[in-house]
């Protein structure tokens, strides 16, 4: 009946860990969101080309890999802001530790850039590439290679993108002391949310009708899968041990209930789902609000899970 501290004494010596973890703020939220978004953008851009079997015609899609890399750089900028020892970044790349998701992440982030660049060079029109200062001829040569080995480039992009998306979730999952993050579902959940936010971002751009219709269907599927994964996460918490049940309680009647259900599930998933179904059924024109709600929901998902996770801990177990 009594709440006794279970955590070891050592964690108590760190002021940022006790009584609750508060070392990760908006920087990490934004980084996780942008990471997922970029993963979604890269996968969807490549998947659209694979499905249509032709290079993208709309300018938005041709430039999208580069836009994605820009967003990723912004995200890594916020991650860098969060680092305590900013000059030690290079140490990530002195070793590869297969058991550390942070190490995986550092290397995946490094792989995303060449993959995105190859994808972009292969889809941008030659006239644009010719105008690249100084490196125009090199760009054209790489573009030619990228087009000859198109399916390799596309599948590599998809694989690297999926790695990026899953890693943003697994990163949290390995911090086992935060019981809220002890769920294997987080990786796929963040990947699916990334796909959904990526589709929403693309839907806000100027696309042709076929691309729009495909993305709309994929976004619907991603939202449905995301709902299932959230249900799986909550069921896992509810049917798990004492620590999992405590983690679930924060979202099922606890302090994060209102934000999680109202912002993530209703605003970010159910309402866009209803509006996209309406769009599909009744051929209504797209409004910017639907994708905007999906983006808000994706951001809220990361922010709430991050905050709730930092609040949680074994010390709260009865």
């Amino acid at each position: 009946m009594h709440r006794l501290p279970v955590e070891t004494v050592t964690t108590r010596l760190n002021h940022a860990i006790d009584p609750s973890l508060h070392i990760w703020g908006w920087e990490i939220t934004l980084y996780l969101f942008l990471g997922g978004l970029v993963a979604g953008l890269l996968i969807l851009t490549a998947a659209l080309e694979l499905t249509r079997r032709q290079r993208p015609t709309s300018a938005a899609l041709q430039w999208m890999p580069l836009v994605a890399l820009g967003l990723l750089s912004a995200g890594m900028g916020t991650l860098f802001l969060d680092l305590e020892f900013k000059l030690h970044v290079y140490r990530f790349y002195l070793a590869f530790r297969p058991h550390s998701p942070m190490s995986w992440g550092a290397w995946i982030l490094l792989l995303v850039y060449p993959a995105g660049l190859l994808l972009a060079l292969g889809s941008l029109p030659e006239t644009t590439l010719r105008r690249v200062p100084l490196l125009g001829r090199l760009a054209l040569r790489i573009a030619a290679w990228s087009q000859q080995n198109r399916s390799l480039v596309l599948w590599t992009t998809i694989a690297v993108g999926a790695g990026l998306g899953v890693y943003t979730g697994l990163l949290l999952g390995t911090l086992t002391a935060r019981i809220q993050w002890n769920s294997a579902v987080l990786g796929p959940l963040f990947l699916t949310s990334g796909l959904s936010t990526g589709a929403a971002f693309l839907l806000l751009c100027k696309l042709d009708a076929v691309e729009r219709a495909l993305l709309l269907r994929w976004d619907l599927a991603a939202i449905l899968v995301e709902l299932l994964l959230i249900a799986a996460m909550l069921l896992g918490f509810a049917s798990g041990g004492a620590s999992a049940q405590l983690a679930g309680a924060a979202l099922l009647g606890g302090p994060w209930t209102a934000a999680f259900w109202s912002l993530v599930v209703v605003t970010g998933l159910l309402v866009p789902l209803a509006m996209e179904l309406l769009e599909l059924r009744r051929h209504l024109p797209l409004v910017a609000l639907t994708p905007a709600l999906v983006l808000v929901g994706g951001l809220a998902l990361r922010a709430i899970l991050l905050a709730a996770g930092q609040d949680s801990g074994y010390r709260l177990l009865p």
Binding site: L263, V266, T267, R282, L284, V287, T290
Partner: protein
Amino acid sequence: MSDQSPQDAGFWNPYFAGFMLGLVLLASFLVMGNGLGSSGAATRLAVSAAHAVAPQTIEHNGYFSQYFGPGKAVLDDWLVWEVLGIFLGAAMSAYAAGRMKLSITRGPRATGARRLVLALLGGILMGVASRIARGCTSGQALTGGAVLSLGSWLFMFAVFGGGYLAAPLLRRQWK
């Protein structure tokens, strides 16, 4: 369910809409024990925005200090979530009816800029008024009216009185 006159086109019959409104309000009473509202959320949103800019001034204000203290969060309130719901519900309704469009609704002779200035001005007036009266047309007239609160009924008559008194001055805006 819809009417045919140009201004009314596409909307529900007012009596049917009122009946549905009454059922929603009743559901709110039956589940939560309290009615609907909307200006309270505007207050909380404005206070939390102002608090981000000037925390000391807001926390020591005689009226706003009620929103602060240990264990309190300005935005942690039923009304804030309810107003989020109003926004989502109205958006879905407008979208499904093909009415969602970025625009400025105005009378036939009013200009857009002037309309926005007056909208802001009217909003400010209503913000002050709803704090003085402890609620707006949703929180006082509708909610209090349905549970037969004396003050709410007087409030409602006063709203119509004030509106009818000021209407001739604003004829150019709307006619």
